[in-house]
């Protein structure tokens, strides 16, 4: 599955403006130090997570919430049905925003917009 996922990704000719060579080097060094085991274990345990918390099926999140996603985030695209139900599953969802032309790393790609949305949300909780 991982191979298929990797094959479906394109390799950019140059880094995007929000990711410097220095940032990439740091991330590479960290993965060289730790290996991929920790990150992959997260995905290996998806089914187990579900089994251990099956009692949460149908539960609604009542806390005030803000949803921010990227238009081109594969996680957003894969979970469109779930996102469409957020107003029902999170009754206190204050706002949902899909940032245009943005992928998974919204904080890096759109820091100004994300910070603005977070500050606005946090102020609304006072």
């Amino acid at each position: 599955m991982l191979d298929a996922d990797l094959d479906s990704l394109s390799e950019p000719e140059q880094l995007p403006s929000w990711l410097s060579e220095q940032d990439l080097d740091y991330l590479t060094q960290e993965f060289e130090r730790t290996g991929f085991r920790g990150g992959l274990a997260r995905y290996r345990n998806l089914d187990r997570d579900w089994q251990l918390t099956s009692f949460l099926s149908g539960a609604r999140l009542q806390q005030p919430a803000l949803f921010i996603g990227g238009e081109f985030d594969i996680a957003v695209m894969m979970n469109r049905d779930i996102i469409n139900q957020l107003e029902a599953t999170m009754p206190n969802l204050r706002k949902q925003v899909l940032l245009p032309n943005t992928g998974h790393w919204i904080q890096q790609e759109r820091p100004t917009e994300v910070n603005q949305l977070l500050i606005e949300f946090l102020k609304s909780l006072r």
Partner: protein
């Protein structure tokens, strides 16, 4: 087929496991109630918290959980043999009690609110669910 001694040891182990998990859940719930109380009334010492847990109305709903723990203690220390029916009934009672419901009885509503406030409560609940589910599927054999 387990012999009588093994059977008793396994019963005690199961009850002890549930008891420990319930105590952990009780602590997590007490912590969430403490935070809520301190947000309004200011910081309290551990001694003051103990007093609040005993006789303050805001903490009274937790007594139901304490009673379940006491019930397990009594079973563990009983001189009489523990029946499978008694264990099954106890686990069923615990599961009924620990059912969060925003439109349920007083305990269920407050338990649901604690679920919403604290992921630690959810994880403590998951531990109990795990034991109860294992017992429902496997009985006393692990």
């Amino acid at each position: 087929m387990l012999n009588t001694l093994q059977h008793r040891i396994t019963q005690h182990q199961l009850l002890t496991d549930i008891r420990i998990k319930l105590l952990h859940l009780h602590k997590q719930l007490l912590d969430t109630e403490r935070i809520r109380y301190e947000q309004v009334r200011g910081q309290v010492s551990n001694g003051e918290l103990l007093q609040l847990a005993i006789d303050d109305d805001r903490f009274a709903w937790l007594h139901h959980l304490s009673e379940s723990i006491v019930q397990i203690d009594e079973l563990i220390h009983s001189d009489e043999p523990i029946t499978s029916e008694a264990i099954a009934a106890l686990i069923a009672d615990v599961r009924i009690l620990l059912t969060p419901d925003e439109a349920g009885n007083d305990f269920a509503v407050k338990y649901d609110a604690a679920f919403q406030r604290s992921p630690d409560v959810v994880l403590a609940h998951a531990d109990i669910e795990f034991i109860a589910n294992s017992y429902a599927i496997n009985g006393l054999s692990k």
